[in-house]
Symmetry: C2
């Protein structure tokens, strides 16, 4: 058995405790059950005070002597047992891998415990909420995307990495960025800038934006994956670094900002560990085309899907401030969206030399 961290021990303890309860139920002649916090829209609300999407207190009961629940009950404990072994091994793996590890026939039958990954993924999420641990603490990783450079030294898996000396490529942000893997060392950064697109990140890196502005620049190749979000959260909480978000001016960009800031509805139970409620939106704003006198041909028309999403976003509780309503309504009224690349019409380095510094120095942001 590998050397276990405190977090590992906590996970194992909780899994074992659930199993013990079930065994006790059996010995007492009761119908074994587990109680799992409900992951559904009906159990999700926006916590205005904390600024995050939060899971409520409703729970569902999963019992063994119930035709509709017996298989899920079995799946829950097969998965729990595999995860316990995984944590004890000191290794990490993907949710695809763990699916294959658990995909085997139920003893004495020709039926599999799991047939498809869309059965095993929700069980992983059940376990996460059941024992109040992030997937990463269960040693499971998601796909990784994104890169970071800037004025920070980290230790990653025992290797000291100076993010000031990472060339044009940068450090590839892994999926698991918990303290047991990633430690923060010398930090000269004053803030973290998340950009939606790797092309813009590359522009900023080539211009040594992070050096001139003492910051960190990170991208997640579109909607940031879990590793990038968790890292933003940690840098914000532990290094006290403000987080600025730079996205396209379209509903998708606003969605990315909102996932970073208050978490996602689907994974509300993780918001407290993944979201950055103080994250600031520095653009693109739907008023930027006028403000920066961009020629009209670089703006794009909203399509039907964009308009539908705009209407949806208008009603989100976290976009109810007047500034946000004005912002979104202006986009709809103009019927135009704007990509980050469009700013290049003002000069290839306009974004790094003028646009972003102005936004940050003039506090020209929205929250």
């Amino acid at each position: 058995m590998a050397k276990l961290t405190e977090a590992d021990k906590r996970v194992i303890e909780r899994l074992v405790s659930e199993a013990r309860t079930v065994i006790k139920h059996v010995n007492d002649g009761k119908n074994p059950d587990v109680k799992i916090p409900l992951r559904a829209l009906s159990n999700v609300s926006f916590d205005e005070k904390e600024g995050v999407i939060r899971m409520g207190t409703k729970k569902q009961e999963r019992t063994f002597f119930n035709v509709g629940q017996a298989k899920k009950f079995l799946q829950t404990f097969v998965m729990a047992s595999s995860i316990k072994e995984l944590v004890e091994s000191g290794k990490t793996t993907s949710i695809r891998d763990i699916f294959y590890m658990c995909k085997r026939p139920i003893a004495g039958t020709s039926q599999n415990i799991f047939d498809e990954q869309d059965e095993s993924d929700p069980i992983v999420e059940d376990l996460e909420v059941m024992i109040d641990s992030l997937r990463e603490e269960l040693h499971l990783f998601a796909s990784s995307k994104g890169a970071m450079v800037g004025a920070l030294t980290i230790v990653d898996g025992g290797d000291t990495i100076d993010l000031r000396k990472m060339g044009t490529g940068g450090w590839a942000v892994p999926s698991i960025v918990e303290k047991s893997t990633i430690e923060f060392k010398k930090c000269d950064a004053k803030y973290v800038l998340l950009v939606e697109k790797d092309a813009v990140w590359r522009r900023l890196n080539e211009d040594k934006f992070w050096e001139k502005n003492s910051c960190l620049i990170i991208h997640g190749g579109g909607v940031p994956p879990r590793g990038v979000r968790r890292l933003l959260r940690r840098m914000n909480a532990e290094l006290r670094l403000p987080v600025y978000v730079l996205v396209d001016n379209d509903p998708w960009g606003l969605y990315i900002y909102s996932v970073v800031k208050q978490g996602s509805i689907n994974l509300a139970f993780e918001s407290m560990r993944m979201a950055v409620p103080s994250a600031k939106f520095i653009g693109l704003s739907s008023f930027d085309a006028e403000k920066y006198k961009l020629p009209k041909e670089v703006e794009l028309r909203l399509n039907a899907e964009d308009l539908r999403r705009c209407k949806e976003i208008l009603s989100y509780p976290w976009f109810q401030k007047k500034k946000w309503q004005d912002e979104i309504k202006h986009m709809m009224a103009k019927n135009r969206k704007l990509e980050l690349e469009a700013i290049s019409r003002k000069g290839i380095s306009f974004i790094s030399e003028k646009y972003i510094p102005d936004k940050i120095n003039n506090k020209d942001w929205m929250e």
Copy 2:
């Protein structure tokens, strides 16, 4: 103007030379034209000797006094002019960016030079073949994906990076990996292993596979992007490292292998600079499920699209060797595919401790 490399000077010279020819035509009262190598299936063939997909010698003529060609003629020179400026600036940018830079009205009209990026991308490719330069030499980058670690030190944009000390994340492979940006230094690697999936790459990195086996491990998040392919080519050519490819056992995996090895049909003109004709396929083979006694429930049924692709691949000239025909026909006869993750059923580190070392040590590969 930035300090220009030899490659930069060559690009500028060729662009200017094309423009001079047009001006001469005008002065001579001729119809200005440019000759562009034809990028079409009819001008592509498989070069058995070199083992790459190669572009033929057919050219298309683009003339100015031709209603059907005048706009494209204009677009070609507007783009050439923007690229010349870009190269002279010493900066790099994305093809999306350069589209926006060129998206402006034709003087005195309300028509734009380019309306959509699907007009400007082919013009970039025209210029690439016209002056026989890779897109990266025109200072244009594609989206970047993928990561690398292993027994090699590189210099990236002036920073020395020891790929032996890159933690769990690794070095994010940039899109432009030409000599002007990336130099190779101390190399202790005996080969490069390209894996299709980042989850498997992570498994190998966690197991320090590259350290135990003195190699480099790299992934490209699926079909490897240009940066990863070009880097493989350079490591193969300059460091004399064999390249092994590890993909899912399905038609998509075979496609990935084939793109790495002989290039793609769409971008045949780049094969000589991007392909690795000596690349070896080490799996997954359709015979592996039997060879490694994998339980039948981890195999997946081929779908209609898989079967269609299998038939297509069977007819490719580079898959005509008996071993390949047997391989593909066996997949079709079994009607089963197999993902890399399925090997985890033999143990979480079976792939790094047994499967890959066996394949390489026993020369159990296909070419």
